[in-house]
């Protein structure tokens, strides 16, 4: 018997109940490692398994929940030993029965980046070791997961290193989210995409409290649903669970109409609960749930259901953008992030990400940008590259269900891209072109779309995950082609039922008043059935078209969204009288970010960039700095001013990049929050200030390896390194970093800062300077670079 047969043959599959609760009853102390019992007290474990089997369990979970390299590090046992012994106990208990043994795997116990310090790749390795050690099991269960990315690493480790069926369950709180903010729908879309065999929820709450969560889940998945709740909620003082076995079983039957298929218990449950469950469920029938399956893409916190037009922001792309190219060349990830946040605020639902540029390692950049973007924005991403290797690298670390841009009708493209889409459970944009280029007629493009869809379906990619792009041609060059595009799009939508994508801006290339053409073409396309326009959401006219269309086509019911955006808009005339009196120093001093950027733009019309910097911005910053030193203003005000200056400098940089001039740098400075430390707010403040003063900051981020600091300093010939640490426990890595710099004879000065540092300590660990605050770090830079 295997899991798949079990699911086919039985109305319900019975899992087991708690292991930990049973072990505490047997005398395990809180804080001890329960998995070691499989070696020290195998009779306990075998007995518990046997009790569950006697109670009716079809599948028992091995005593391996925390048997990973990280959690076992404070024992003297290896992963192999513990898992081997645990599976042997389960096998022993199941001997002579058809009961299946599941390799039970819980979270690693350390958080993944970006919240924690564990990388995706390390997490994968840890799970790979567990999966390989559990080769004697019949199936693999990942449970009590709260981080979708960690679960993805686990599932990939299982899929790539075994052929066993996989069950996954995550743990949700009453707000419908896991602790790391993952929603039920994000779990469902991501894991069904990755190809697990069953999925559901366990732990945290009782069956009653989990009702709304299961309801949400059953609407969005076609997979068998697993339900393994706690015995209600624990008492805060005693930790005892309140729900009885009978009550538990009867509450569980209320979930049958929602389509639960595999049932068991988690914390606070015992064999009595499983016995009660199997008795209560014995005469019940499995119910196939009602589902509304839609095209969707997601991140843990945001699921975008494509049941109406959704905007894909096009700005993360170097094509034709000098400032963006410069950012890619200089590893200026923050600039790319700012482009993402701007589009988010403008109303984008999804962000296209293209980082292809000759001279850079596109694969490495894609991985870094995907990770960095997912740390700060919740919008789903569309990974855009012509290179399948880049696509795969991005898909691997992407947290959620992504969109791949793109595949086309060419055999080579179909054969290399579609398997990736399938493996990582993404959606894909299918371009209506092939070996012979872009066909002229709607009929020919439709034929390519059909071909892409049928190839996708042959691989098991449902057509709701294929988004067809009928390709916008330039109206000035091929005017009669415009309607061909729209007619093809209309057919794809109606006859294939696929979502449709269109890059809109291309339509007006070479024409005057492009916005007018773009926004009207967009409206035409929307009425023909365009669901995924790729546009620049920062241009008001484009979002106005989208929002008006959604209002008129009855997607924006009650015009709520439209009114929220345009309800208060008095005619967009700026009040020049008021702004006339504002000058740049005033804007900087008063934290007026938007004003600062606007005035800078005005000034650039007839002033040189350097003149603005030297006669206006720097004096304004100096004034703020001395106000801070004399106590006239305090830190948040200083930072606020620095933030305004930053936006002014960004305008200047953009201006310089467009005119082909390079920004002048007073010197390169490395900033890093040391290894083991993830508190980097201080470092980020220092960075903004240093950049304001014209230094080029190489921000290595947080939790930075000592060697990376040394290598970067050497390669880029950096004269000043700034290190920050917040905790006493991470000061040793600061010391180590300085030592390594000295040992490697790197000719640089080191300044250090952070809450627990003192000037004495700084001196003791060999730093050249101690900076008590962000302002002082600028003074130190001035000293080091002499300007």
């Amino acid at each position: 018997m295997d899991l798949r047969k079990l699911l086919d043959n039985k109305e319900f599959v019975y899992l087991d109940g708690a292991m930990g609760t049973m072990l505490f009853d047997k005398g395990l102390k809180m804080g001890e490692i329960p998995e070691l019992c499989s070696i020290d007290r195998p009779e306990w474990i075998i007995d518990i398994h046997k009790q569950y089997i006697a109670a009716g369990s079809d599948i028992i979970y091995s005593n391996t929940f925390g048997a990973n390299r990280f959690k076992l590090s404070r024992s003297c046992k290896s992963v192999d030993e513990v898992i081997g012994a645990s599976i042997a106990c389960a096998r022993e208990a199941a001997k002579g029965s058809s009961v299946l043994v599941a390799l039970d795997v819980g979270p690693i116990g350390q958080l993944l980046e970006p919240a924690g310090t564990l990388s995706f790749e390390e997490a994968y390795d840890i799970y790979k070791e567990v999966v390989m050690a559990g080769s004697e099991a019949d199936l693999i269960v990942f449970e009590t997961m709260t981080d979708l990315l960690e679960l993805k690493a686990a599932v990939l480790a299982a899929k790539e290193n075994s052929d066993k069926p996989i069950i996954t369950t995550m743990t949700f709180e009453q707000n419908g989210r896991t602790f790391t903010g993952c929603s039920v729908s994000a779990m469902a879309y991501t894991l069904e995409g990755l190809g697990v065999d069953a999925l559901g929820v366990n732990c945290s709450l009782g069956p009653k409290e989990l009702m709304p969560i299961v309801k949400e889940l059953s609407a969005v998945t076609t997979l068998p649903i697993v339900m393994k709740p706690n015995a209600g909620l624990p008492d805060t003082i005693t930790g005892e669970y309140a729900v009885s076995a009978e009550e538990f079983a009867s509450l569980m039957t209320e979930l049958i109409p929602l389509g639960i298929k595999l049932v068991g218990g988690c914390c606070g449950t015992s064999p009595a609960f499983i016995a009660a469950l199997s008795a209560e469920f014995a005469d019940k029938k499995y119910v196939t749930p009602k589902r509304e399956l839609n095209s969707a893409c997601c991140t843990p916190a945001k699921t975008v259901i494509i049941d109406q037009p959704r905007v894909i922001g096009e700005r993360i792309n170097p094509t034709g953008k000098k400032r963006f190219k410069e950012a890619l060349m200089n590893n200026d990830i923050d600039y790319i992030l700012s482009q993402a946040i701007e589009q988010l605020h403008a109303g984008a639902d999804i962000l296209d990400v293209n980082v292809g540029l000759p001279g850079i390692d596109e694969k490495d950049m894609m991985v870094r940008v995907v990770k960095a973007l997912q740390e700060v924005v919740d919008l789903p991403l569309q990974l855009d590259s012509t290179n399948p290797e880049v696509i795969e690298a991005g898909l691997r670390v992407y947290n959620g269900k992504a969109i791949v841009n793109s595949v086309n009708g060419e055999e080579k493209s179909l054969a290399s891209v579609l398997p990736l889409v399938k493996k990582y459970g993404a959606s894909v944009v299918g371009l209506c072109l092939d070996e012979n280029g872009i066909p002229k007629t709607a009929a020919e493009r439709f034929a390519i779309a059909e071909r892409i869809v049928s190839r996708a379906e042959a691989l098991g990619i449902h057509r709701r995950n294929v988004f067809v792009d009928c390709l916008t041609l330039t109206a000035s060059a091929e005017q009669e082609g415009v309607m061909e595009t729209l007619n093809a799009l209309e057919r794809v939508r109606k006859e294939l039922g696929c979502q449709t994508v269109l890059g809109v801006s291309n339509i007006s290339f070479g024409l005057p008043a492009r916005e007018i053409v773009n926004s009207n073409f967009l409206t035409m396309a929307l009425t023909k059935g365009l669901t995924l326009p790729i546009i620049n959401p920062n241009i008001d006219a484009m979002m106005q078209s989208v929002r008006s269309y959604k209002l008129l086509a009855c997607y924006d019911v009650g015009s709520v969204d439209f009114i929220a955006h345009y309800g208060n808009s008095t005619p967009a005339v700026k009040a020049p009288e008021q702004t006339a009196s504002l000058d740049l120093p005033y804007a900087v001093a008063n934290g007026l970010k938007g004003e600062g950027a606007r005035i800078t733009r005005e000034l650039l019309k007839d002033k040189e960039a350097m003149e603005i910097i030297n006669t206006l911005l720097i004096p304004a910053l100096d004034k703020i700095g001395s106000d801070f030193e004399t106590g006239k203003i305090f830190l948040p005000q200083l930072i606020q001013s620095a933030g305004v200056a930053q936006s002014c400098f960004e305008v200047i940089k953009e201006h310089l990049a467009a005119s082909g001039a390079a920004s002048e740098s007073k010197g390169k400075i490395i900033l890093a929050t040391v290894k083991g430390d993830v508190h980097d707010i201080g470092k980020n403040i220092v960075k903004v200030l240093l950049e304001n003063y014209g230094y080029e900051v190489i921000d290595l981020g947080k939790d930075v390896d000592c060697q990376l600091v040394v290598d970067t300093a050497r390669e880029q010939n950096v004269k000043l390194v700034g290190l920050s640490a917040l905790m006493t426990t991470t000061l040793p890595s600061m010391e180590k970093t300085i030592k390594l710099l000295r040992e490697n004879n790197i000719d640089c000065k080191v300044m250090v800062g952070g809450a627990v540092l003192t000037p004495d300590y700084a001196e003791m660990i060999g730093a050249d300077y101690y900076a008590k605050d962000a302002k002082e770090s600028c003074d130190i830079a001035k000293l080091v670079f002499g300007r």
């Binding site: 102390k29 809180m30 804080g31 001890e32 979270p107 116990g109 350390q110 958080l111 919240a115 924690g116 310090t117 009590t144 709180e173 707000n175 989210r177 602790f179 790391t180 903010g181 732990c203 945290s204 805060t236 003082i237 930790g239 914390c267 923050d334 992030l337 700012s338 946040i341 740390e375 700060v376 924005v377 008063n590 934290g591 203003i633 305090f634 830190l635 948040p636 005000q637 930072i639 606020q640 620095a642 933030g643 930053q646 083991g676 430390d677 993830v678 508190h679 980097d680 707010i681 980020n684 903004v688 905790m727 006493t728 426990t729 991470t730 890595s733 809450a755 627990v756 540092l757 003192t758």
Partner: protein
């Protein structure tokens, strides 16, 4: 649970702004307040343990956790039991602070300070609940790993005993840093008898040497006993 309000006064003190004119910051502060209230999903758990003095230190019954050092011994003097408390503002707050550090660094800093103030409020709420549940008992103030000579390295074990990872999503890195970062663990002594109301002094704090408030003649505000 929800974060109901933010102790702006304490947050401003954390920003170094005690007694300053904060008028120009008010728009930023109210914006940040809104963001933080929206983002925070605070949670706490606590559990009551009988304690036994051993050669190694103070052992919590039914666990393999031993609290070492003279500071915790002094703290629990006259107590027959203690409560372990774990509280967090949630990872969504860390994320908010990070996102703002890209788009608006000043807001990032202000939210950071507000979050530090708020986690104290969450701990206060937890203490209120303890007092309701154990009306006849007397409590000490909250003593956290890292204070005095109670090592920070006990953090991981303490979280394990409380099963804090599973119950409120609280974990610790190799360098004993808690994640989510706006989190607190604490030991609160419990006694049937009136306790000598020890006051938490700056001397108990692991920031004693480097504290900016103290240098400026101010206090961070966590000295008062409750």
């Amino acid at each position: 649970m929800k974060l109901e309000r933010i102790n702006t006064e304490l947050a401003v003190r954390y920003m170094g702004g005690s007694g300053r004119d904060i008028t120009s910051l008010m728009p930023l502060i109210s914006e940040c307040e809104k963001l933080l209230l929206e983002a925070a999903a605070p949670a706490y758990i606590f559990k009551h343990f009988a304690i036994t003095g051993t050669d190694e230190g103070i052992s919590l019954d039914g666990t393999d956790l031993v609290l070492t050092g003279s500071s915790i011994e002094k703290h629990l003097e006259g107590c027959e039991s203690c409560i372990l408390l774990c509280a967090t503002l949630s990872s969504s707050v860390d994320r908010l602070i990070k996102t703002l550090s890209v788009s608006d660094i000043a807001a990032s800093y202000v939210v950071d300070c507000m979050a530090s103030a708020s986690i104290e409020d969450i701990c206060d709420a937890a203490e209120q609940e303890m007092k309701q549940k154990l009306p006849d008992k007397h409590f000490t103030w909250r003593f956290s790993p890292g204070y005095g000579d109670l090592p920070l390295s006990v953090q991981g074990k303490l979280l394990d005993v409380m099963n804090a990872g599973k119950r409120i999503g609280l974990s610790v890195t190799d360098s004993d840093m808690m994640i989510p970062s706006k989190s607190v663990t604490a030991v609160i002594g419990v006694s049937g008898r009136e306790l000598n109301r020890q006051t938490r002094s700056c001397l108990d704090c692991n920031m004693y040497e480097s504290c900016d408030y103290r240098k400026g003649g101010d206090r961070c505000g966590s000295q008062e006993t409750s």
